[in-house]
């Protein structure tokens, strides 16, 4: 059982999971159904929590456990439930119609991953152990893809989801680059995320009420 504690092993796991997170992100780009969209987000957040836990275990950084737990609570449980409630409440069942069609979006996502690696490449320091540049690359890719998804979505709700998944990229960066921020910071950030999610949820709801639709591409009154 000793080799379980081997750092190499940990790195493998983390990298694997990071890859999984990336895949999920791309899957989100390709996704047509809002419900699935939410679920995938939940899954992705779960993976992140796991990564956090692993890192906490292997680097003996207890405060990351808290971060992991918070992620689990906020992003895997609270936010998805909140949004699914919202969906039911507003009986949304349209499917997502993106601006760019799915195959091309996926290709773009791939390209963005490449960008992520190119940017992170300059951080690669061979002498340095740990999860450094891989994780950073993945984080940047997640960030960019999430961003792209935001641009590519018409529905308010899905834009919020995209924004949250984009923040997942940040979380990954936080834990894997710096083994988590000081606890207080983590707390602050997560709190913000939670509030943001709620605020945006309310906004989405009101938009839905006022416009009889969640299609944000209709919000084009204010120009010039």
């Amino acid at each position: 059982m000793m080799h379980i504690l081997d750092l190499q092993f940990g790195e493998r796991i983390v990298t694997l999971m990071a890859a999984l997170v990336l895949v999920l992100q791309i899957a989100m780009v390709a996704q047509r159904w809002i419900v699935l969209h939410i679920r995938i987000f939940a899954a992705q957040s779960f993976c992140l929590a796991m990564i956090a836990a692993t890192i906490a275990w292997f680097n003996h950084a207890p405060h990351i456990y808290i971060a992991a737990a918070l992620t689990l609570v906020v992003k895997v449980i609270l936010v998805p439930i909140l949004f699914e409630r919202l969906m039911v409440k507003m009986e949304i069942h349209e499917e997502i119609e993106p601006f760019v069609n799915v195959p091309i979006s996926v290709l773009i996502a791939g390209g963005l991953t490449l960008v992520g690696y190119v940017v992170a490449e300059s951080f690669y320091k061979p002498d340095e152990t740990g999860l450094g540049h891989n994780a950073l690359a993945v984080a940047i890719s997640l960030f960019l893809i999430g961003f792209f998804t935001m641009i590519n979505r018409r529905k308010a709700l899905t834009q919020v989801l995209a924004l949250l998944s984009l923040e997942n990229g940040l979380f990954l960066a936080a834990i894997s680059l710096t083994y988590g921020m000081p606890l207080i910071v983590e707390l602050g950030i997560l709190f913000d995320v939670l509030v943001a999610a709620m605020v945006m949820g309310i906004l989405v709801y009101r938009i839905r009420e006022t416009f009889e639709s969640m299609d944000v591409s209709l919000l084009r009154r204010l120009r010039g």
């Binding site: 601006f99 792209f148 018409r154 591409s217 120009r223 010039g224």
Partner: protein
């Protein structure tokens, strides 16, 4: 001196604040404002006249509560000279305003007017004396701002608003150029003090020199109304109240001239030849364009505004010549040209102020600015007419008044210029000279129109027939300026020595001893033998001849004089309808210069009985204002079109907005990081 000057400033400031505070009591506000303006002017006059002859410039530094903001004032001869100009004109105008503003009581906020009026005078005095780039720009902009407020004082009229705005925008654009120019100088010296800019140009690269020169030329040119930066001037001067117009044309546009004098003869050591040539060329063009458009304009005040452009052109001819002489190392000739320019500056301030005051009286009496509706005012308002005539003779450069003197000096400078160089550039001097001659002659033609049509013959409208002579104080103000014009003409040789300190400071020579000959009876160009004039002599001749011949003969013939209807080639019943109009008067020139004017005319005749006897004919004729039509309007339209297209950036779609950020981010990540 310092004390006097500062107290002048303080009086103006106090007057401004007081009249604003008293705005609810128009009578008192008017009196306070005008008397403060008058007192301030007199104090300023005393201070600047004293320091014009003092050997060393007076420095005044007032500590201010804001370390960034420093009051740095220096009264050197040049500043003093322009301050004298300001003070004399301002005194007359404030006197005039006592009566002029009376009409506005109750209808307009005289408190506000007095506020801006006094502030304008104060800022002008500060512009002429600021000795620090920052403070200069502050005074400069305050001047523009207060001038704007006065121009758009009657802002109910659409025309007034647009004109004021045009002025504000153009002058601010000019200030932008000045800002760049001054900062380039500052970059070289590392501080903002004018003293440190003295003879600075030599320490700059030729490229910088040229660039800064042009920046200054155009920056100040906007305010001076140099063609093609003049379009605001004929708009803004007519719409403002007439006392303001007098200040605008008389002294505000001279702030640009002051700036040029300061830069060209204080900051620049020896300029390049082309600089002088450029200024000379601009001067000639401005003079011609100004007078040609004036001839076609029948709005009395706009006509005068166009003439301001012409006279600025004449001044610039002097400056240009002076610069070229300096480049050629001819200090004495440079002094001659500089004196010509500065003398004309002063003269123009006086007679243009006088003419605007006269025009203001006529406009107030008839309620219109269109001279075609005036006529016959010389009988209703004799004093105004006499003063206007004096101004007209002076501005037409006819002997023995002041306009003649400064134009004569300019001719002499140009004449002497021909011999100073062997290069072809020397051809510029005689050409400029002949163009100046053309300008002067056209100006005379224009002022025959500008005096005869409104003041002579029969009234052309009921209002004109009912016109009243203006109040005593207004008449007095005009007479005062007229007297100054005459004095500047007859006593020219007495004023020349006043330029010595200036030429001494700018060029290091004292010219008066060479210019004033025959025990102060005559003036010579100081360049070669002979070629003198003596306005005093001419005046004496006229007086003697008048007294000796005219008077007795008139008395003898008095009994033989009969008054009767005009013969008019036997046509019956001369009425205002068959008088010669201004339009008709300018017709020959309109046809001769049609290439420039591109006149359009339409005639509608209605016939009743036969095709030979029209019952009514309507004639409309208009000319094209080339610079607006061909230069400014297309530019404006282009810019607006581009702006409208760019509004598409903000099309309302959030996805697009996000895309902007996304693309920027990716670009920065890929390339920005490597910057």
């Amino acid at each position: 001196m310092a004390v006097l000057f500062i107290s002048g400033i303080v009086v103006w400031l106090a007057g401004a604040v007081a009249s604003l505070a008293l705005w609810r009591l128009p009578v008192i506000a008017r009196r306070v404002a005008c008397s403060a303006a008058l007192a301030g002017s007199l104090l300023d006059l005393a201070a600047s006249a004293a320091s014009l002859f003092s050997a060393s410039p007076t420095f005044i530094g007032i500590p201010s509560g804001n370390p960034v903001f420093t009051w740095a004032i220096r009264l050197d001869p040049l500043s003093a000279y322009f301050n004298v100009t300001l003070a004399v004109l301002a005194a007359a105008v404030s006197l005039y305003s006592f009566g002029y503003l009376k009409e506005m009581e109750g209808r307009r906020n005289l408190g506000a007017f007095g506020f801006f009026f006094n502030l304008l005078l104060m800022s002008l005095a500060l512009v002429f004396t600021a000795s620090n780039a920052f403070f200069f720009l502050v005074a400069w902009e305050v001047m523009a701002l207060t001038a704007f407020c006065l121009i758009s004082f009657e802002h109910e009229k659409e025309k007034t608003r647009s004109s004021g705005l045009l002025f504000l925008i153009m002058s601010h654009a000019g200030t932008g150029l000045l800002l760049i120019a001054f900062l380039t100088l500052t970059k070289t010296t590392g501080n903002l003090d004018f003293a440190s800019f003295h003879l600075l140009a030599s320490r700059m690269t030729p490229l910088e020199q040229g660039a800064v020169f042009l920046l200054f030329l155009f920056g100040f040119g906007v305010k001076a109304g140099v063609v093609p930066l003049h379009i605001w001037l004929p708009e803004a001067h007519p719409v403002s109240p007439s006392n303001v117009s007098a200040l605008m044309s008389g002294i505000v546009i001279k702030s640009g001239i002051y700036g040029m004098a300061r830069v060209f003869f204080d900051f620049y050591g020896t300029p390049a030849l082309w600089m002088g040539a450029v200024v000379l060329g601009l001067g000639v063009i401005s003079a011609l364009v100004g007078v040609l458009y004036a001839l076609m304009d029948h709005d009395l005040k706009r006509l005068l505004a166009w003439h301001s452009i012409e006279n600025i052109g004449i001044i610039l001819i002097g400056f240009g010549a002076a610069l070229m002489f300096r480049a050629l190392g001819q200090a004495n000739l440079a002094a001659l040209a500089l004196i010509a320019a500065l003398y004309h500056t002063f003269n123009h301030a006086m007679f243009k102020g006088l003419l605007f005051l006269g025009a203001g009286s006529a406009v107030q009496a008839t309620g219109t600015r269109n001279m075609e509706l005036m006529g016959g005012l010389i009988r209703r308002m004799p004093i105004t007419a006499l003063c206007f005539l004096a101004g007209a003779v002076a501005i037409s450069g006819l002997p023995p008044l002041n306009g003649f003197v400064s134009e004569w000096l300019t001719y002499q400078a140009l004449l002497a210029g021909f011999g100073t160089t062997q290069s072809l550039t020397r051809l510029m001097f005689p050409i400029a000279g002949s163009m100046l001659a053309l300008t002067a002659a056209l100006a005379a033609a224009c002022f025959v129109k500008a005096f005869a049509i409104p003041f002579l013959a029969l009234p052309r409208s009921p209002e004109a027939a009912e016109a009243r002579e203006v109040s005593l104080v207004m008449r007095f103000a005009m007479i005062a300026l007229a007297v100054v014009c005459v004095a500047l003409g007859l006593g020219a040789t007495g004023f020349i020595p006043a330029f010595d300190p200036i030429t001494q400071q700018a060029l290091g020579v004292r010219a008066s001893s060479a210019l004033v000959v025959a025990h102060g009876w005559a003036m010579s160009p100081g360049t070669s033998h002979g070629g003198t004039i003596s306005t005093t002599g001419m005046a004496l001749f006229f007086l003697l001849a008048g007294a000796a011949f005219a008077l007795p003969l008139v008395l003898r013939w008095r009994r033989r004089i009969a008054r009767g209807p005009a013969w008019d080639c036997g046509l019956p019943a001369l009425t205002a309808d068959n008088e010669y109009t201004a339009t008709a008067f300018s017709k020959p020139l309109r046809m001769i210069f049609s290439a420039l004017y591109r006149p359009r005319r339409e005639i509608q005749a209605e016939y009743e009985v036969s095709p030979y006897y029209p019952s009514s004919i309507r004639f409309a004729s208009e000319i094209e204002h080339t610079f607006e039509k061909r230069l400014y309007n297309p530019l404006r339209d282009r810019i607006m079109a581009v702006a409208n297209r760019m509004r598409g950036i903000q099309a309302g779609s959030i996805n697009t907005y996000l895309a902007y950020i996304f693309i920027t981010l990716i670009l920065l990540l890929l390339f920005g990081v490597r910057l």
